[in-house]
Structure formats: C-alpha cells, structure tokens
Symmetry: C2
C-alpha cells in the first residue's frame, strides 16, 4: 500500500465538527490526504477541536471548489453510497473496497468520496466513480454519521494493510512459555497427592474428581509461571497438613 496515493474527499460537508472527526479517523488509521470540496464552514475552531492531535491533517487539507478539481489526477475513484441506484453500478462492501483501494494505491492515485451529511453523493457525482462502496448497516437505522463512515473505510484500509501480520492467537504476546504435557502431568500428580493428604479425595472412592480437575485446567493453557505458583500452593498446603498431623 502507498498511503500517500490515497485521498479522502468530502463533498460539501456541512458541519465543521465532522471535518475534524474525519481528520482524526484518518490519522488513527495512517492516512493523511484530506480534500474538502466547497465545505460550508471551514476553517473553523470546532474542526480543530474535534481533530484533536490530527489538527495537522486539517491544516494540510486541500480545499477546492468542485469535485472535478478534487479528482482530476485520480486513476481510481470510489464513492460511498447508502442508496440503491436506479442503474446499478459496480458496488462492494467496505472490506472488499478497501482491498481494491490498497491494491490500486501501489501504482495509482486513488480518491475515496464521501457525500453530504443529509443526502450523500448525488447521481452525477456517483457516475464519476469506478466503484461504489456500501457499508452494510442495519435496516432499523441505515444512515451512518459522515465521520463514522470515513472511520470504517479507513479502518478497513488499515486492516487490509496489516493482513497476515496481526497475531490471531489471543495469547500471542504472552510473557512466559506455556507448560508442556509433562509439566502438567507432574502438576496433576502433585494436586492428587495434596487432595489425598487433605482427605478431600478418597483414593478408594475417587469418583470423577481428578477428571473434573483435569478438564478445568486443560481448558486454560497454563504458562510455566502459573504452574510454578499452583505447585507452590500445593507444596505449602502439604507442609501444613504434615505439621498439623505431627501436633
């Protein structure tokens, strides 16, 4: 991906707060090129406030009078659209659109257009696009806030960029090694001996107690440190039992 080949274009945004929120959403996901087509109110302190630490994106934003100026140099133009069109256009969801954007950005300039808060992009604007992007919102309430739509598309662009490099295991960044089967067998022996010492387990009528304990601990991947801690507790418990018996 070449992030500097991707520009986010807001067509006639009404609320400066949304412009600020868009700048932050972009920077959070590693994009920096913002183009504003005839914004109603800009520059504006609310845009700066909502941008927070992305105020540099706001200051570097390119402000133009028409969509044509905004996209003149782009080889691939994507338009976000909520509505069904009378003439269907090539359309993909945000995830697949992001893949197209990332692929194209390697060699080409890409524009991603977002329309007005109340009415989106009009038909004339949507006809300038190679691809329409649809975010599959819930039928109870289809209309996303402008900056939320930008956030989702920018997030998908970043996820595409990171594809294959994100860990999938929930314990991928664990600080300790995980216990081996042999470690676990020593632990279960130690546990069983301790439960017998405690007279909690009757070796002549063990029922399913150890099976249940095995099922419990095998559902977690215990790490070395955790096995040490548990065995430390068992050792201390057995010491106490012996001390008690000697009294």
């Amino acid at each position: 991906m070449n992030a500097s080949n991707i520009q986010i274009v807001l067509v006639n945004p009404s609320h400066p707060g949304n412009i600020g929120a868009v700048a932050r959403a972009m920077k959070n996901m590693g994009l920096r090129q913002l183009v504003l087509v005839a914004p109603r109110q800009f520059p504006d302190p609310e845009a700066e406030w909502r941008a927070a630490s992305a105020v540099d994106i706001i200051h570097e934003a390119r402000v133009v009078g028409t969509l044509d100026e905004a996209i003149a140099g782009s080889q691939f133009v994507v338009g976000t659209s909520a509505r069904d069109r009378r003439i269907p256009w090539p359309v993909q969801d945000a995830r697949l659109t992001a893949k197209r954007i990332v692929e194209r950005s390697v060699a080409d300039k890409v524009s991603v257009l977002f329309g007005r808060e109340d009415s989106g992009l009009n038909n004339e604007e949507l006809r300038r696009c190679n691809l329409h992007c649809h975010i599959p919102t819930h039928p109870d309430y289809e209309s996303l806030n402008l900056s939320m739509a930008v956030q989702i598309v920018c997030y998908e662009i970043r996820m595409t960029e990171l594809e294959g490099s994100l860990p999938t295991a929930e314990d991928a960044h664990w600080e300790n090694a995980f216990a081996t089967s042999q470690d676990m067998e020593y632990f279960y022996e130690h546990l069983e001996d301790t439960l017998i010492d405690l007279e909690f387990l009757n070796p002549n009528a063990p029922r399913q107690l150890m099976t249940r304990m095995r099922r419990l601990y095998s559902r977690v991947r215990l790490d070395d440190m955790e096995v040490q801690i548990l065995r430390g507790i068992l050792k201390e418990t057995r010491r106490l039992v012996r001390e008690n018996n000697n009294k």
Copy 2:
C-alpha cells in the same frame, strides 16, 4: 447471533456528545443495549442531538453507579484496551473479538466495556474481563475517539453476523444478464465490419486494432443491454456510411 444478549458498557464517559454518537453507532449496526456507568453528564440534550434517530437507545439506556452492577449478569466480558499491559491478558483484534462476541451471544450474556475518553479502562477494570480487544491503530496517532472505537467493534459484530451472506462480486446485483461468448463474437464481427465500412480498419493491413478492441471489451463484463446498445450504434453507423456512399 443474539443481539439482545450483547450490551455495550461505557465506563465514566465525560462527554454527552459521545454517548449520543455511541447510541447511533450501535443502532446503525443492529445493537440496542447501552449501559452507562456513572456518566459525568447524563441525560443531556447533546447526547440526544448526536444520537439522531437512535434517541430511543438513549432513552432505554441503563444508568448504574458501578461497573460491578453493569456486568453482574454477564458470562463473557470484553474490555477494549489501547495500552500494553504489564501482565499480558488474552487479547484479540476487533475482528476476532467480534467473532467471539457473536458466538458467545447465542447462549450467554456478553458485556463489551469501553473506558474513559482520556484514560480508557483502568487495570482494576481490565482484570474483570475474559478478553481484551485491541484496535490496531497507526503509531502516528493511536488514540481513537470513544464513539469511533464503539463504531468499529459494532461494525465488526455486524460483519460477523452477515458473514457468508454478503455478495463478493462487484456486479452481484446487476439488473441485466451478462453477455455470452457467442454474443460477444457477433458483436466483434459487427464492430469489425463497421470499422471496415468506415475505412478506419484496412482489412489488408489490420495491424492490432481488433486485438486492442477485444482487449478493451473483455476487461468489462458487458451485459445484454450494453451489447444491444453498442450494436445499435454500429447498425446506425453502417446505415449512415451506406447512405453517404449512395449520394
């Protein structure tokens, strides 16, 4: 997925505008259960204004004094976290977290916690969680706005719910059938004849013209209607050539 088993919990939110934006983000993605733990300012007109057509979510929100009250009935608790922890905890990105949430929601109550605007969830709160969720923002600016974080997680929950049911082809909802190879061959013949009539193509020195035209039209999947339109143009062109020759 059972959406009514999933609740979004905001811990000590400061800005009522964010509460409204969260309500809208939830409803856009089909979630409705919002819990507010000791919000600084709520109810508030800005929350209602930012919620837009999700104001019903605001009115139905459960306001509680402590996190314990919020999650008492939950069997699976997820906490969103930006920071690396001293003791690593099970952690997954928003996409994989959403899969876990959707799976668990079928049978269990699930809480998804989001922390304060400035400082997130504290260590005590993060320790109440079965899983931490991390959104992989860009190192230039890691800190997402609260409502944006909620939007991304809710979007991933909806995408998980829709998995397998979304069309992947960009022309999945086309209104016309696509042209067959036979249709295309008739079209190319018609095109070639017309270009010869126009004396644009010299059949004795055709060079690569038809190959280039084939390459052009084979890069689009022409539909029946488009082939008809193009052949209509060719027919009209040939008629004009003949008329001209007869003068």
